[in-house]
């Protein structure tokens, strides 16, 4: 059974129709990569998957996204409860300023009302271990999250997202602001993480998609051109536009 099933998503900024009917299904324990040229609506699309898109003034979205058997665009659904099941990691690392490493990790759990110190401490440790950051920060959990390096900050943001045990983790070009070493650390991390949580990652780096994903979806100008197992998308794409894009003769 799929863990996330987006059906016919349309997204608008004001009257600009940006995402034009994208459907996507993701399997558990898999990394799904969304590739496509800059400006084709990748970010906009994954921001529809946790109802973040609608937070931009003038923006709205249509369609349905089934997570855990529930349509997050259903009539009486509270976006807040949806977002607890869907983690998100952004393009630029964004640990909260004015907050320690520890507080950054457990802030999501605090929001659910968890106050037990031992629970918070053990979740913080586990999440930081899952994000491969524990060894680097275990002696300085009280220092500001913003004092870490860019790559560490991004792993802190991954830990922060994992701490609330989401069903699925959305990542929007999480390594585009990082150097190659920090990037490969995060890529290695993803192959371990997918055992715990489904991952959808947007990237405009095709090599990255080829390295880390099980399924790849190719988007162009707000439409999904094709999706399928990563190996076949990269070796035997069905559509001509896909082939053009992955062979570099496009955008």
């Amino acid at each position: 059974m799929s863990i996330l099933h987006a059906k016919n998503i349309h997204a608008y900024f004001g009257t600009n129709h940006i995402v034009k009917g994208i459907s996507l299904e993701t399997e558990p324990h898999q990394v799904t990569a969304i590739i496509g040229p800059s400006g084709c609506g990748k970010s906009t699309f994954i921001r529809c998957l946790n109802r973040l898109h609608e937070e931009t003034p003038g923006a709205r979205a249509e369609g349905s996204v089934i997570i855990d058997g529930e349509n997050i665009y259903g009539e009486r659904v509270d976006p807040v409860s949806i977002r607890r099941k869907v983690g998100m990691v952004f393009q630029k690392p964004n640990p909260f300023p004015g907050m320690s490493i520890f507080d950054n990790v457990i802030i999501g759990l605090r929001l659910t009302g968890e106050k037990n110190k031992e629970v918070l401490a053990s979740v913080a440790e586990e999440s930081l271990k899952d994000a491969a950051l524990w060894d680097e920060v275990k002696d300085k959990l009280k220092t500001p999250g913003t004092s870490l390096s860019g790559g560490q900050q991004q792993r802190l943001c991954i830990a922060r997202a994992l701490a609330v045990e989401p069903k699925i983790l959305l990542m929007d070009e999480p390594t585009s602001a990082l150097d190659p070493i920090a990037t490969s650390k995060i890529e290695d991390l993803l192959s371990k993480l997918k055992k715990k949580v489904g991952i959808i990652i947007v990237t405009h780096n095709m090599q990255q998609a080829a390295r880390i994903s099980d399924t790849t979806a190719f988007a162009l100008m707000g439409e999904l051109i094709e999706s399928g197992p990563t190996s076949s998308i990269f070796t035997a794409p069905r559509m001509q536009q896909t082939e053009k894009y992955i062979t570099g003769r496009f955008g």
Binding site: V80, M88, F96, S100, I107, L111, T143
Partner: protein, 311 residues
Amino acid sequence: MVKGPVAHRKKEVHRGDWLFAQFIQAGAMLLIALLLALAWFLIKGGWPAIERYGARFLFSSNWNPVLEVFGAAPVIYGTLVSSAIAIMIAAPLSVSVALFLHAVAPPKIRAVFSFFVDMLAAIPSVVYGLWGIFVLAPWLRSDVEPWLSEHFGFLPFFQGPFYGVGMLAAGLILAIMIIPSIFAMCSEVFRSLPVTYKEAALALGATRWEMMQIAFLRAGKRGIIGGIILGLGRALGETMAVTMLIGNRDEISVSLFSPGQTMASVIANEYAEAGSSIHVAALIEVGLVLFCMTILVNALARIIIRSDDAI
């Protein structure tokens, strides 16, 4: 350090740049000199009083020009209390309005509102004073003070006869006057926070209010506190409106209904009629205390604003 090219380029600094740098430097020196000259004047002018009264000047509460007895405690007290009232009212109000405008309100409402608050800042102090005397004080005397006394009369702050003018009136007018400063500072802080913090908070399942706490209040904590302290600095030294509204009595009274006196208002009130030279010196020493206090408060605000991300 890359030495070659940089050293090379240094030689080619344009003449205009050099002149401009000299000009800026001279300006900076002049400002520092001005500050020092001001401090020197205050110390020199106040010296007879400093010499004659010593530390008693700060702690004695008897201010009597006729007997040449000068204790500044009542005016220091009046300054601190009226500013405290102002901060307690203005800070929560300005911070929450700025927060609401930047975190949730549509941009249009934000612009209109900010415009009107900026206008508040442009109104001269004496106009606030006039409004205070003819509108605020009578209203305090006839409605607010009786109400406070009836419901909170068990507190010593709200006891005694209703005058209208007094510590409460001065605190309120100060609150109105410093709202624009604190609001502007908070707006600046909130505007400069990247939207990504807001989105990160929402993506973690924060409600709107939780998002405001995490992505605005906590993230902007230093700037907000700095802005409040800057507002305090303004309240401490504000003169005209306070002089018109505080009632001008050099006594310490716990009741906020009573008239009082601030450092700024005692100088404004008595300087013109100061008969003896020791009276003048005492007033200048009050000025020196006020000068030190506002410099300290402003320095503190700037240190907080610029300090590293504190937890």
